[in-house]
Symmetry: D2
Subunit: 231 residues, 4 copies
């Protein structure tokens, strides 16, 4: 059974970043809203809270929890680092890797992808160009999320403003490593952004402020999930 | 009341690093041993577990919990970073900064020291030379921990092998910022290493493998705490 | 004879950054203009060109040439690094360290300051706050240049917009390491900015775009040098 | 005409690192030995000296000169950075990228490869595993040099100790980007190491201490070049 069969698509992956609206008890509340919307719509919604909140959240919900980052280190003398094993033990099922706000060296991405695979964590490598997406796919992660950094946080959706970077990514990845699930992100806020993303050949979206900073988080989640249903 | 009155000395600060013996449920068990030894001896023992374990540990013990690292960022769009506020919300009372396995830029140390002070977290800046200790003291943290990296993990105690680096640190810091509490670390394993450290003018020790990787963690903690009592 | 007697003050130190107007043959032409203005006014003007241009420039002028950065490494297996010895051999008399566009870890600044001292290169540690200036002075470099990054390249002179950060720096450094020469930078463009800087207790200025990107580089240099004379 | 037609193979690329035997006047002497051996054997030998030496060397020899590193920055306010344009202006025809002693973020490698291509510099991306080689090839550089870091500087040649990592690299790259020239490095010291490398499908070698630190640099170069002739 292929690894990617563990990933239910379309996938809505919500990155809490270090927003206070997604920290501590706020993170728990937001995750519970996501869980209800997921249950009501049947669409897979996953969350990526801060490291300090992973265990508390994973203990209280059924939906998948991802780390925002793990370091390319093994157990040992690595003060202040984030061990993939620790993230898994705390309840995460996967991790973002190389987010534009936490870029890694190429050799580190390779190490982390192999490490997560060996311990059974799902890997989502974030990328900024079609060429970087192709390069990342060559490392055989579970997912690649293309996110042009200049659109992150703008509310201008990559799937509408830069469709060609998404379709180039999809087509390059399908050539190099067709088993890799492609997500897209940056500026995704509305249901129609999600529909556009899925029409371009992706199997889900990575988003953050569009949900976390929304006045009505539940409504934002419902709008997005409903759009994914209607694809 | 001076900030440092919040710090009960002599202080034994145990860094769990990313050792598996100090991860997850193992981290809870080790912390409970530390709590019992602290209670039996009256000596202050604090622990610095991994980020994912801070909340679970702080929920179950009374002794102080420190983070191993926080990033020089504020709440916002900083995926994969460690917010000082998040660490505090999870139950930490302080944080290590600039450990030799997680060195920071000078401007970041300044930012993190100011940030922790402003939100009420204790700061422990780790240093590698007497000059770096003096420089760190000029940033006015709560504590400075001098740890020559070449001795870390060796079992050869800095307080016995390099006493002059400790006394130079103490004397430079007392000139620049006498309110700063000085700890020392690297190779500290035995009660006699702790006694030597306190005789050199420090007010505590930072240690890791000597306790975390000990065959009998409780015995190692008791040996160290007893030595601190008998000073 | 104190080290700082090798530094003729007031000092005008012009950082060429990676501006094309300060690269290759343009760098030679700009340095020759600086040399003429220095000779005509009697004011010490030094330049900090890119690494690839140091030797060509040092071969053709008498005024002091600084590197913009050197790495904290010794001779050996360090591909792509900048050796202090190599910079000196190419003709530099000193180096900037920790510029806001090339921040270093605290332990690296300590290493580079000691390394430059041991091989006879002058060290200029760049800083962003009064506390960081004090910390840097504790490492005993030859000079500290305080430059609030938010003013760099703005044309709004630190010496007029943020005089308190300059006077705080001067007073903290005089307490910790009175032999250290204090420069200030960020936004310095006009002669009056230089006069203000010297009145605040500094012994020179670090500047870049105000000269390198000036329509008339000679005129900009002459304006600044004349102001330093008239102090 | 394909880009790679500018690269005469087999190519012997000698990295001077920050070895004193390859710094300043020593670098010029070593380069002249390489030029003579290249001329006598007809084998292409290129050198990668330190940044401060590029211009002096390029001015005196005909063989190709590479930089050891350039930064992912454009002309502008980037103190202490290495501009691809500056390296080219100084006489380099190409640059190493991502050497194991100077690892870059994946997004930086992408930027630098595109930048060098746009200004006509040859790019050699160094890699540590077959997967990283495949990823790098997806960025379409001119060359990829596979170098397992654990063998660098050992004198144990990758082409003999780890032939499978070389053949895996060659076969993955030929699938993803067949126009990319594959080199290998790490531990290459003897003529037979070079022969083994070429037999495995590479078109040249990257080496350093085997030549730079050799008692008789000319003899080492001649041994290597002769082996390449006899392939």
């Amino acid at each position: 059974m292929p690894r990617s069969s563990r990933i239910k698509t379309p996938l809505i992956l919500v990155n809490f970043k270090t927003y206070l609206e997604g920290t501590g008890e706020n993170a728990v509340r937001l995750t519970k809203k996501a869980e209800r919307v997921s249950s009501e719509t049947g669409i897979s919604i996953a969350v990526a809270p801060q490291l300090t909140d992973i265990r508390m959240i994973a203990d209280q919900v059924e939906i998948p929890v991802y780390a925002q980052h793990v370091d390319a280190v093994d157990a040992g003398a690595f003060t202040g680092h984030v061990l993939a094993e620790a993230v898994k033990e705390a309840g995460a099922v996967g991790t973002l890797i190389n987010h534009s706000e936490r870029r890694l060296k190429l050799s580190e991405i390779d190490e982390v992808v192999r490490k997560t695979r060996s311990i059974g964590l799902l890997s989502v490598v974030c990328t900024n160009t079609a060429a970087v997406s192709a390069a990342s796919a060559a490392l055989d992660p579970d997912m690649v999320a293309i996110e042009p950094p200049e659109l992150i946080g703008t509310g201008i959706a990559v799937s509408k403003a830069r469709p060609e970077i998404v379709t180039d990514t999809v087509s390059l990845i399908k050539k190099i490593a067709p088993q890799v699930v492609v997500l897209c992100g940056a500026g995704i806020t509305l249901g129609e952004d999600v529909k556009a993303a899925l029409r371009l050949g992706t199997e889900g979206v990575l988003l953050a402020s569009g949900v976390v900073k929304a006045k009505d988080q539940r409504k934002a989640l419902m709008d997005i999930a409903t759009a994914a249903v209607q694809k």
